[in-house]
Amino acid sequence: MVKDDGQLYTIEGVAAGMIMLFTAYLVLGATSVYTPGDTHISDMQIEQTGTDALRMMNTQVNGTSGTSPLHDIIYNNGASGFNGPEFNTLFLNYVNNRTGSETDDLHYSASVTYYDINNRTTESLPLTSNRNLTGGEHPVRVTEWVIVNKQFPGTNLVENRSVLVEVLLWRD
């Protein structure tokens, strides 16, 4: 009579366990999880692009023009607002251009901040935007200082003043 003492009854269980372990290993090794901490990478890339764009807009095209396109946009627009198309066209051209045939799809909302010396307050004027912020976006903020000889609302003098061009920039 053959006794069953010492028999390995659970060979199926052992095999299944090993298969499960191997599967778990493969799954864990192959999965890439986009963690909340990784969002800073795309934020940083957008911030870099926006900062570069504003810097290039604030660079004069040649040595004889004397002023940059960004200066001209702020200087030439009306004192109560800056709703002209120049900033929109130029800024979107800079931030959406890529080396291939495809373009990026970034959106922005820009404003100009200056110091009102009479009231000793900091005032902001909307510059322009290509989409309104609804609150659900996750924009980054980029800025550029511009020196412009102009009278702003609430100020008495036409004088050189530093104004801060501030842009909120995001990708849908």
């Binding site: 010492g6 366990g17 864990l28 990784d38 990478i41 660079t59 040649n62 251009n97």
Partner: protein
């Protein structure tokens, strides 16, 4: 009767052993297992960002003379950088761009990994640059895979200056007449004068390198000179009648025009302010230092070592002096003056093209006057770096 109390089941032994082996194995692999739980592109993005910063904001090393200069030993290049200078981030040099993307000058990937991408890991990469107005994209590297680290830089590219001298300028400055001559000569000399001190120190916008015309290192820029309308400056051409002396023409046919030589002269101040001494530099006539194009030709006339002047000219001559050539001819001395002289021989005496009336040194001055020279300007561009 066999008593089985105290025995270990072989099932238990087998299961426990496998479990322990698996546990130890998994425990040792935990660091590797959790690599997949963070974004794979974190490292690649960081490397792409670093490479983008190096290329857009750094002039490279060595910087004076610059790494792209033809007389810089390639083995001494430590770092590529495309910026004009460290004071002009995001403004790139055309000469550096041409050198960086030249597949015959540097070998992909080794030259680029050790001088632009860096790191112990042999990253693969693709670097591309699109300049506004160009219908092609410059790039170096592999075809992009599905996932990669990425950096994009918005840049401007400095276009160097050029001068076009045509009928309007020749009429305005009476360059068809030679000083103190009462007869129409057969030999005519037209010179272009570069005051390196003035160019290096008196540029626009507080001498910003982005707008300088600076032939001396580290910028070591080249220049382009176009002489046009040459068939209209002789006495026989209708357009030139009003600025030629009426009695000066020999009459008859339009003379044959030959460009007989191109000479370079360099001067330095003599000690103790006793003037300047000019000496002739004899450049090679091949296209290593400059190219000369005749009548709109698409290949340079001096494309081979055996090129010799004279060459027949009908309408125009274009002289492309490469970056670093002017610096070589001036021996890197910022106090140098340079005189580039083109000599023409006509088949018979005529009024044609002569700069001896001009000051200084009887030459057309290549300077910051926009009426004389089309000044440097900046073109938009975008550069992308992909690393994987």
């Amino acid at each position: 009767m066999t008593d089985d109390a105290g025995n270990l089941s072989i099932d238990f032994l087998a299961g426990f052993t496998i479990f322990m082996v698996a546990l130890i194995y998994v425990a040792t692999l935990i660091p590797g297992l959790f690599i997949g739980l963070q974004s794979r592109t974190i490292d690649y993005d960081a490397v792409a960002y670093r490479t983008g910063v190096i290329l857009a904001e750094d002039p490279g090393q060595p910087s004076n003379p610059s790494w792209e200069a033809p007389y810089t030993d390639p083995s001494t290049i430590l770092r590529f950088g495309l910026a004009l200078s460290k004071d002009t981030p995001n403004i790139l040099s055309t000469a550096k761009i041409n050198s960086f993307f030249c597949s015959t000058e540097f070998v992909y990937p080794n030259d680029y990994q050790s001088r632009a991408v860096f790191g112990d890991y042999p990253y693969q990469f693709n670097i591309s640059l699109q300049i506004a107005g160009d219908n092609y994209t410059r790039s170096v590297g592999d075809i992009l895979p599905e996932g990669y680290g990425y950096s994009r830089r918005v840049v401007k590219i400095k276009e160097t200056s050029n001068a076009t001298i045509g009928l309007a300028q020749i009429q305005q400055y009476y360059w068809s007449n030679e000083t103190n001559l009462t007869y129409a000569p057969e030999t005519h000399i037209f010179s272009i004068y570069l005051n390196c001190t003035n160019l290096a120190e008196n540029g626009p916008d507080y001498n910003n390198p982005a707008y300088q015309i600076n032939p001396i290192d580290p910028l070591g820029e080249g220049v382009v000179i176009n002489l046009t309308d040459l068939d209209q400056t002789t006495c026989e051409s209708t357009a030139s009648q009003k600025f030629h002396p009426p009695s000066g023409c020999n009459g008859g046919s339009q003379p044959t025009i030959n460009l007989s030589s191109i000479s370079i002269y360099q001067s330095r101040p003599l000690p103790e302010g006793t003037g300047r001494a000019w000496s002739q530099i004899i450049p090679s006539t091949n296209h290593a230092t400059y190219e000369v194009y005749i009548d709109g030709g698409t290949t340079p006339y001096n494309s081979t070592e055996s090129t010799e002047f004279p060459v027949n000219v009908t309408n125009n001559v274009s002289l492309f002096i490469f970056p670093a050539s002017l610096n070589s001819w001036s021996f890197g001395d910022p106090n140098s003056d340079l005189n580039i002289t083109m000599q023409f021989e006509l088949s018979h005496g005529d009024w044609f093209l002569n700069s001896t009336k001009n000051q200084p040194d009887g030459a057309f001055e290549y300077n910051y006057d926009p009426a004389n020279v089309s000044q440097p300007y900046l073109r938009d561009g975008v550069m992308e770096v992909a690393v994987w």
